[in-house]
């Protein structure tokens, strides 16, 4: 007869506990339904308020907002503009008033209709300095709103040519007045309400957000009923997620991994996005010498960097405009020419045996191969008589130094511009009064100044092309490349690339 002693009990309990665990673990990856799309995203979402605080001006976070909220004005994947919650918009003849028409068949996720009052409240809240909207300086240029039916008119306090472009850009989202005021800011963070294609079903901070298709959405119904966006900041974990089948799609993985996964049967797209890599030049020694600046630029073989170092994931550029931007001018170029670089340096008395010396700052790991890229550039410079020492800084340090105008003579950074307007690239990066400009040049200010309020769009764009030409001739900044975004997904999916870099779940379908 068997006795049921303590040891035997523990043994049996252990086996009993382990069996279902093993089963559950082994088959956990198979529980996902076919109507569920799982995305391993690289940036966690800090806040569900798309109009205030640091996350509202973080371009990488817009993916979440674009799924849940509607912009005033929307953008096509090629950055051209289309109707969002506004179906029509424009200026009057003398640019003293604006007129907007609000979509009629739009609803909030709680079922209430989107009204012109919501749109006005959103614009007024954005313009209120106390709201903490970082783009308040744009929104405050209109006031005195009046509503008639679905139409809104407002007075223009100060003409801002890019006002409507901003309505598709950072903080340009419409929020529900009643729901937000009733709930308050803290409750909003747990359960936000938008009018976009997906509703927030569950949000686990720093882990995932589960979205449910909104049946009353005014646009095309998304194909996937449920979308899970997992927040996976580590690139290795994102690769593992897609490889193990834990996620259907991921992005921003190392280029080598993109190629490896593509050869293993995963689908992939690498496409140029509205983000560029550049070297800021500060107007301090030795950068006050034009010969040095031009020599630096001519000595960089951007094609080699893109092809050899970045494995082709990028496009060399010579101005702050990527080819998709409004003021891109293909004829403004700065060629790779070592002999010319040497000549410029010789004019200022520098050579390989008597190099010009300075510090270049760079991030390491913030952008793909950023440090390696600067190492390669420093190597190229050495061949012509430029000796640069590399200093690594964190991204927060870069922002702080840039704001205080204390960057090193050369500093690597990137610049996003998802509306493709030259004012938000060349304008803010090079105009002295912008807190983000590094090279303060009165000549550039004279060129850019009149363009801020230029009502003739053609003239404005042409004006910026001239500014870019001047900057290239003077070597005031070194644009390096336009980044390409690698996206990998399981076979059987159809993914639409968006030049702004957004991963829009509403645009992902079954192949």
């Amino acid at each position: 007869m068997h006795t049921f002693d303590r040891r035997r009990f523990l043994k049996i309990s252990g086996i009993a506990a382990a069996a279902p665990l093993a089963g559950s673990v082994l088959f956990s990856g198979c529980s996902k339904g076919s109507d569920v799309l799982s995305i391993a995203y690289n940036v966690p979402l800090p806040s569900w308020d798309p109009t205030t605080g640091p996350s509202s001006v973080n371009p990488t976070i817009q993916t979440y907002y674009k799924a849940v909220f509607d912009s005033f004005i929307d953008q096509n994947p090629d950055l051209s503009f289309k109707a969002g919650l506004l179906t029509e918009w424009g200026w009057n003849e003398d640019r003293t008033k604006i007129k907007m028409t609000v979509r009629e068949n739009a609803f909030w996720h709680d079922g209430s209709p989107v009204t012109p009052e919501d749109v006005v409240w959103s614009l007024e809240r954005a313009a209120n300095p106390e709201s903490g909207n970082p783009i308040q300086f744009v929104w405050s240029k209109i006031n005195n709103f009046s509503i008639s039916g679905q139409e809104i008119t407002a007075d223009v306090k100060e003409f801002e040519p890019t006002l409507f472009k901003w309505m598709a850009f950072l903080t340009g989202y419409v929020m529900p007045k009643k729901a937000y005021l009733d709930r308050g800011a803290e409750a909003w963070e747990e359960q936000p309400i938008g009018s976009g294609p997906y509703m927030v079903e569950k949000f686990e901070r720093n882990a995932y957000v589960r979205l449910k298709a909104f049946p009353q959405y005014w646009g095309d119904k998304p194909e996937f009923e449920t979308v899970v966006i997992k927040m996976v900041p580590d690139a290795s974990a994102r690769v593992a997620e897609i490889e193990s089948g834990g996620s259907d799609l991921t992005l921003q993985i190392p280029y080598e991994e993109f190629n490896r996964l593509s050869s293993k049967g995963f689908s992939g797209q690498s496409y140029p996005v509205s983000d560029i890599g550049m070297i800021f030049i500060s107007n301090r020694e030795p950068m006050l010498d034009k010969n040095v600046r031009l020599a630096m630029h001519h000595a960089i073989d951007k094609k080699a960097i893109v092809n050899d170092l970045l494995l082709g994931f990028g496009t060399p550029i010579d101005t702050l405009q990527a080819p998709e931007y409004d003021a891109f001018e293909s004829t403004t170029t700065v060629g790779y020419d070592l002999e010319l670089a040497k000549k410029y340096l010789a004019k200022s008395g520098f050579s390989v045996s008597n190099p010009v010396k300075f510090t270049i700052q760079t991030t390491r790991g913030y952008k793909p191969k950023d440090y390696e890229m600067i190492e390669a550039i420093v190597g190229m410079w050495k061949q012509v008589g430029i000796e640069a020492s590399i200093e690594i800084y964190e991204i927060a340090k870069h922002f702080e130094l840039r704001m205080q105008h204390k960057l090193a003579p050369a500093a690597f950074y990137n610049w996003g511009n998802s509306i493709g307007d030259p004012s938000t690239s060349t304008g803010f990066a090079m105009f002295s009064y912008s807190p983000h400009s590094a090279f303060k040049s009165p000549e550039v200010d004279k060129l850019i100044g009149p363009l801020w309020g230029e009502p003739n769009e053609e003239k404005r764009i042409e004006g910026y092309k001239n500014v870019d030409r001047y900057i290239a001739d003077e070597g005031l900044v070194i644009p390096l490349l336009q980044y390409s975004q690698p996206v990998v997904y399981r076979s059987g999916l159809s993914f639409t690339a968006h030049t702004a870099g957004f991963i829009l779940p509403q645009n992902i379908k079954s192949a």
């Binding site: 279902p20 529980s31 970082p134 803290e186 290795s236 974990a237 834990g246 927060a396 704001m403 983000h436």
Partner: protein, 335 residues
């Protein structure tokens, strides 16, 4: 006597925590990274920047900021996160249970591995088993936890996909706990599906944390066991006819465990603040992951609150260890 000792230790903890608060605050003002510079858009004027500073209370003199913060702490308010727009105290309380669950499981695994390996090494002293265990212990200690994370992720997440790679709970599971101690709540509410899923998600990060820890504990335990095995009472037990394994587990282990338990306590305190990289790699939503987000965003109130929490946890754990010493050894109470 013991009550007086306890009182004295509690009183001594207050200046320690105050000093930590001062150091944290001053450090946050010295290290590079202005939170406002992280959020100003191109085109913002000096007035716009000043307005943002005012909104977040960063325009006040540093001493005023410190006093406001200190006053808040005294009232139980750690301030408001700049990036997450929620109360710092609430955010920390929400995340602490996840980290505690991870740390407790890791510690449990580490102690189990350390005891098993140490007993086996002593039992099979001077044999191949001991040499193999030596090698494993050396490797486990030499590889840091974040590297273990990547190795485990590769082997058990990709090559042999037995465990989920990221998160704390499968997003498809419907579970609305009242507390954030998911594991305990799932057990008490008999949600076995949730318990298994939590364990599956905890498996890789907790083993990654446990391996180096187990190696450290094992080294200490083996040393103590070796010493205990040379004592007279062990020889007596052997003479009485107990097997070698029985001698180790019934006699030597009990005495040898005391230094290991002490070390475990200290390691536990370190572990609470040391899960950062592992949580990041596995996207585990605990305090470590929150700390990384806070640092990236230069969210000063959140960073200050987190460091203060880590410090308080450390002080409390050390206090508990000291108190347990005092309970075990009455001679220490008078010191």
């Amino acid at each position: 006597m013991f009550g007086r000792y306890l009182m004295l230790r509690l009183l001594l903890a207050i200046p320690t925590i105050f000093c930590v608060a001062v150091i944290v605050f001053v450090l946050m003002r010295i290290v590079p990274g202005d939170p406002i510079s992280m959020m100003i858009p191109p085109g913002a004027s000096p007035d716009d920047i000043e307005n943002l500073r005012e909104i977040y209370g960063l325009n006040k003199p540093v001493l005023d900021q410190f006093l406001i913060w200190l006053n808040g702490i005294a009232e139980g308010d750690l301030g408001r996160s700049i990036s997450l727009k929620l109360g710092v105290g609430q955010l920390i309380l929400n995340r602490l249970p996840a980290t505690l669950e991870l740390v407790i499981l890791s510690m449990g695994i580490a102690i189990f591995l350390a005891v098993t390996a140490s007993v086996a090494a002593i039992r099979y002293k001077d044999t191949l088993v001991e040499r193999v265990l030596d090698t494993f212990t050396g490797v486990a200690q030499a590889i840091p936890d974040f590297l273990w994370s990547l190795l485990l992720l590769l082997f058990f997440g990709v090559i042999l996909p037995l465990f989920p790679i990221t998160g704390r709970l499968d997003p498809s599971l419907s579970f609305d706990p009242i507390t954030n101690f998911y594991f305990f709540e799932a057990i008490f509410t008999f949600r076995l599906d949730v318990v298994w899923d939590l364990l599956a998600h905890l498996a890789l990060p907790s083993f990654a944390l446990a391996f180096p820890l187990a190696a450290s504990l094992s080294r200490v335990l083996r040393g103590s066991l070796s010493e205990a095995m040379s004592q007279d009472y062990i020889t007596l037990a052997q003479v009485k006819g107990y097997s070698r394994l029985e001698v180790i587990t019934k006699f030597a282990l009990r005495n040898a465990l005391i230094p290991t338990i002490t070390l475990s306590g200290v390691q536990f305190a370190f572990l609470i603040g040391g899960t950062v990289l592992v949580e990041y790699i596995f996207s585990y939503p605990g305090l470590g992951n929150l700390a990384i987000s806070a640092v990236v965003q230069r969210d000063l109130p959140l960073i200050q609150g987190l460091i203060l929490t880590f410090a308080v946890m450390f002080v409390i754990t050390n206090l508990l260890i000291d108190l347990s010493y005092a309970l075990i050894n009455p001679r220490l109470r008078g010191r």
